[in-house]
């Protein structure tokens, strides 16, 4: 029998970005809150201290901050009729672990969604006609608008001290910013750092085409900054160790550098690390959560009763825990019925790498995850007329690397030797004189791309792993080819000695071995009614009204941007409703 803990008002599963956002909201309201985090407690000091954090092997390759796959991973297959194999070693995406979650080792590229992407099906049908959307493409509108989310995007940008240049301030298009963004109510809280050299070369070349390059919105603080919660951040020094690392300078926004400092001493919050939730407990009706079951750091099974359950783990884990707990009807790809696991999506990333002559000093190690980068948005979302192109979605195209880590970020031409003196010559010649320009593209959702429980493989507690059924569709191959073609035109003018495109040949299977993006989405999607979604517009479970689910699991399809801004906006939108309405009178917030 599990140990039964004293009941609390709310239990939070997963203590990353959205867990921290909800912990603040709920403790502000006076609730007693327990946050359960599967991984260890982590903080800037001592866990991310210089110089030990500047260790590519430990963090960038072995992934000490990531979820240990030995205990739990996912299985992957390309199609519903195949047998899935476990994702045994890290490749395609990396999963967060520990307090702060993936918010510790992200890059800090903080984007809002484009307004039309939040009503994608209606928008595409209206602009291009119903037939433009393939039959098996299961994209759907968000049940919430850009205008409703805007104050929450704005707030989160201030929490993170985002540096950027506004492109659309209250409807006025401004030079130097993104002319395609939705109207923002206020400017970014901080000014961007100067673009790194490769980003400057790109900005100049892109401008010559008439495009409007602008700085990537960067949750890498550029000054000594105090956020709305009174938490102070320090200026980024472009150390080149954002991605896959914790920030030793309190510059990169993470739960640790923005929200957790004001929560640590709250008597009504208890954070239990190394606590692995195995089940959301339901009452006999199956309509109400009574708490959660977890395995504590000593391997004991513990029951934590709670009036309110917040599911805020990583996207994949949210979906798995719903399936393990029997919350909601699992998605069936044959009938198209059921919702849990539906609409898994990903991103399709391409690149053009330029190899410059020896007098072009790229200094790739002078970098940040987001600061110093330049991007164009002409070919993303529905910022251009798709009617002649026959695909939906697009890519943002950006310049300026996330670092010059020599094991993983070495750029040499594909025809250079992979070892021997020829390899040495190539790495020596190109390391400081090459740059990759990247297209990060959306992936739509499809009837046969989904998540369910694997029938064979188990985690270290004997529970089924999550199974991912995913491969590319032709829409995305077309999108990728179009994005790369536009990028190539720009790079061509940069006078590199040579350049090489990394793109997807149509029919290329999804390759789990190569890092592409950790922006996995869907499976517990947001929607207008219980037959098309797991959660309503306030992130409340349709089936279990005292369960709220946060994260990129809510995205009905993916976007070309990084997901953190959008998922945080959805969380703050929900938090406001909890504060204003639900906590006073718990119950279903949207009629089914």
């Amino acid at each position: 029998m599990p140990t039964r803990k004293k009941p609390v008002d709310a239990v939070i599963i997963g203590f990353g970005w959205t867990g921290a956002i909800l912990a603040k909201t709920l403790t502000d309201a006076g609730l007693s809150v327990v946050a359960l985090e599967r991984g260890p407690a982590r903080d800037t000091a001592p866990d991310f201290e210089y110089p030990r954090i500047i260790d590519e092997l430990k963090h960038g390759i072995r992934g000490e901050l990531w979820q240990p796959l030995a205990k739990e991973t996912v299985t992957v297959r390309h199609a519903p009729n195949e047998v899935a194999s476990p994702y045994r070693q890290y490749g395609s995406f990396v999963l967060g672990n520990g307090v702060g979650g993936a918010g510790v080792h992200w890059n800090g590229q903080l984007w809002r969604a484009s307004p039309e992407e939040l009503r994608i099906r209606s928008h595409i049908e209206q602009r291009y006609g119903k037939k433009f959307i393939p039959d098996d493409m299961t994209i759907q509108d968000y049940p919430v608008t850009f205008e409703e989310l805007e104050p929450h995007f704005d707030h989160f940008e201030k929490v993170c001290g985002v540096a950027g240049t506004a492109g659309n301030l209250r409807g006025t298009i401004r030079p130097g910013g993104n002319p395609f963004e939705g109207a923002r109510s206020s400017d970014f809280p901080q000014s961007p750092l100067p673009a790194v050299y490769s980003a400057q070369l790109f900005a100049k070349a892109a401008s010559d085409f008439g495009y409007k390059p602008f700085p990537v919105p960067a949750a890498n603080s550029t000054t000594a900054y105090t956020n709305p919660y009174g938490v102070r951040m320090g200026p980024c020094n472009m150390c080149g160790f954002c991605e896959r690392f914790g920030c030793f300078l309190y510059s990169k926004a993470a739960p640790q550098t923005t929200i957790l400092p004001i929560l640590v001493n709250r008597p009504n919050l208890e954070v239990r690390s190394n606590s692995y939730v195995t089940r959301i407990l339901l009452d006999k009706t199956g309509k109400r959560a009574t708490g959660v079951l977890y395995v504590d750091q000593d391997g004991r099974e513990v029951e934590q009763p709670a009036e309110l359950v917040v599911l805020s783990a990583f996207q994949l884990h949210n979906v798995r825990l719903l399936l393990l707990s029997g919350v909601g009807k699992p998605y069936d790809p044959v009938t198209g019925k059921g919702v849990v696991g539906k609409n898994y999506a990903y991103q399709m990333v391409g690149a053009t790498t330029a190899f410059f002559s020896q007098d072009v000093e790229i200094n790739p190690f002078i970098a940040a995850g987001a600061a110093g980068m330049t991007v164009i948005d002409e070919f993303n979302a529905d910022h251009f007329d798709h009617s002649a192109h026959g695909f939906i979605g697009g890519s943002m195209i950006y310049a300026g690397g996330t670092g010059g880590r020599p094991i993983a970020q070495m750029l040499i031409p594909p025809d250079a030797p992979r070892w021997g003196s020829g390899w040495k010559e190539a790495v020596k010649k190109h390391y400081r004189h090459s740059a990759s320009f990247v297209t990060q593209g959306s992936v739509m959702s499809y009837r046969d791309r989904y998540l369910d429980l694997d029938p064979t493989y188990k985690d270290s507690h004997g529970l089924p792993l999550l199974r991912m059924t995913f491969d590319w569709h032709s829409n995305e191959f077309k999108m990728n080819a179009y994005s790369i073609a536009r990028l190539e035109e720009i790079v061509k003018t940069m006078k590199a000695e040579r350049f090489v495109n990394e793109m997807f040949r149509p029919g290329t299977p999804y390759d789990t071995r190569i890092y592409q993006s950790t922006h996995t989405t869907g499976g517990a999607i947001i929607g207008s009614n219980p037959s098309n979604s797991v959660i309503n517009r306030y992130s409340q479970s349709w089936d279990v009204s005292n369960l709220f689910i946060y994260g990129a699991s809510a995205f009905p399809q993916n976007i070309g941007y990084n997901p953190t801004g959008l998922l945080a906006g959805l969380a703050y939108f929900s938090a406001a409703k909890l504060r204003e309405s639900y906590l006073k009178s718990p119950g279903r917030l949207v009629d089914a």
């Binding site: 210089y50 110089p51 030990r52 500047i54 260790d55 590519e56 092997l57 390759i61 072995r62 992934g63 240990p68 796959l69 030995a70 739990e72 991973t73 992957v76 297959r77 390309h78 047998v83 194999s85 476990p86 994702y87 045994r88 070693q89 890290y90 100067p194 790194v196 050299y197 400057q200 020094n237 472009m238 080149g240 160790f241 000093e361 200094n363 190690f365 002078i366 110093g372 020599p406 094991i407 070495m410 992979r418 070892w419 021997g420 003196s421 020829g422 390899w423 040495k424 010559e425 790495v427 020596k428 390391y431 400081r432 493989y457 188990k458 299977p509 999804y510 390759d511 789990t512 071995r513």
Partner: protein
């Protein structure tokens, strides 16, 4: 490719390396003068395997004018030490069966072997393949034959009695590059030679004064985590 004078690895070590080795590994007894590298006694690899590792590393990152050779940079030592880390024991990997060894390659590594097992089996199988076709172990083959054999493994053109040759080669090459470019903390990249060759400043991690100097070559050499400068 530049033509460079060919150093004999052992001669080079005699000239350049002993001081650095002695500093890095005080108290480790000297090995035989004939077996390179001296003064490091592997804890994971046995003598035959150690010969293979040293010979393979010497071909994968040879001594030449571009930069230090892999052996001289301590790459074999790096690999030996990694095998005693949790990594070598497969602690980072999901290792539960069943193992679909015929799964589509894009689904990633699907063998049941930890890195330690992969090395043990891979080296034995590679040596036995060399003996079968060339009557000598890999380490005793001429450089050219060694290179041809490695290239064949890389292409999967040689069938090993053990793990697939391309998988074993991939493991080896990954670890070799890691050992060449990881912080010297782990036994490789001795004297930050790998970093110096390419111009990576290591753990400096502060470019505040360089944000506005785009296009200028960054002038400083590397520092390591333990504070060594170069």
């Amino acid at each position: 490719m530049t033509t460079v004078p060919r150093f004999n690895r052992r001669d080079f070590l005699k000239v350049a390396a002993p001081a650095a080795i002695a500093l890095t590994h005080p108290g480790i007894p000297a090995g035989s003068a004939e077996d390179a590298p001296p003064r490091y006694v592997p804890t994971f690899f046995n003598a035959i395997e150690w010969k293979f590792i040293n010979a393979a590393v010497d071909r994968l990152i040879p001594v030449d004018a571009h930069g230090p050779g892999g052996v001289e940079a301590g790459v074999p030592i790096f690999i030996d030490r990694q095998m005693d880390m949790p990594y070598g024991h497969g602690a980072y990997f999901y290792m539960q069966g069943p193992f679909h060894i015929d799964a589509h390659p894009t689904l990633g590594y699907q063998l049941q072997y930890t890195p330690r097992e992969l090395y043990k089996l891979g080296i034995a199988a590679a040596d036995s393949a060399c003996k079968r076709t060339k009557s000598r172990t890999f380490a005793d083959l001429p450089h050219l034959d060694q290179e041809q054999f490695l290239a064949a493994m890389e292409r999967g053109a040689v069938v090993l009695e053990g793990p697939p040759a391309a998988t074993f080669f991939g493991q080896l090459l990954s670890n070799v590059r890691e050992g060449y470019f990881a912080d010297p903390l782990y036994g490789g990249n001795r004297g930050m030679g790998g970093w110096k060759m390419i111009g990576f400043p290591g753990a400096r991690a502060d470019f505040t004064n360089w944000m506005n100097q785009q296009g200028r070559a960054y002038p400083y050499g590397p520092v390591s985590i333990n504070g060594s400068k170069s």
